[in-house]
Symmetry: C2
């Protein structure tokens, strides 16, 4: 479903969301220890996310990665977009370029309902909402169902 890179990125951002803000930053090293993601690989992913303003970073001593309020407002989908690009999730399940509702591939109708729900969820739920859900662990429903 997601690439390894996206899985790592999602995991890392979720941790950042629940444990950092402008005043409490996290170094790659600590995030790596905590999440079991290889340090150098994680660093690369965080750099990409930072470059695209999905997460924030400050260099130097006392520096590290963290999420601003703005970062938190971004949809979860944005993380995947930056790391994997849009094609992987959006494209036809059989990899056909010209598959759509009018000209569906054999599996289109079979797979699309689930896919649509998933995409809708990823695009509409913000990082903040996801993290909040985790902290409260309250009842929770998928938008669109």
């Amino acid at each position: 479903m997601f690439s390894n890179s996206s899985k790592y990125a999602l995991t890392a951002v979720i941790h950042l969301a629940s444990q950092t803000d402008e005043a409490h930053k996290k170094m790659v090293k600590d995030l790596s220890l905590y999440t079991d993601i290889p340090k150098a690989y994680l660093a690369k992913l965080l750099q990409q996310l930072s470059k695209h303003q999905v997460i924030s970073a400050t260099k130097g001593p006392k520096g590290g990665y963290y999420l601003t309020e703005e970062n938190r407002k971004l949809p979860v989908y944005r993380i995947i977009e930056v790391i994997d690009g849009t094609h992987r999730l959006e494209s036809c399940v059989l990899g056909l370029e010209d598959c759509n509702a009018e000209n569906p591939c054999p599996l289109h109708d079979l797979v699309n309902p689930s896919k649509a729900i998933l995409l809708n969820t990823l695009k509409h739920m913000s990082i903040e909402e996801l993290a909040g859900k985790l902290n409260k662990n309250d009842g929770f429903s998928i938008p669109g169902t």
Copy 2:
């Protein structure tokens, strides 16, 4: 979602379903031409499917691949199972080994509803049903929705 190999396998089996039976077989070469799947790669996939009795084959002149009635009764899921194994589709979206309803990963509740629907569909719809649906192109609904 699916691996390239699974996509190819699905495409190929769908074609076999709509165009072959015990009396009308298809050679790898022709399937390859028709589906635009590299011949040698397709051959390897069909061999795997054949070895696991998902599709049928006869050697020699006038031979080729085809689907029996038994083959057609198999769930679509079986194709993916043979090619990709079960782990890829069933495992946690973040790749955690011990993720489940009691001990869910951060994305579990977010992704699981769509995933459950998809898996349910793949496991309950037979190859025959999928092919029949294509031929008739009639209204169609996903079981479980």
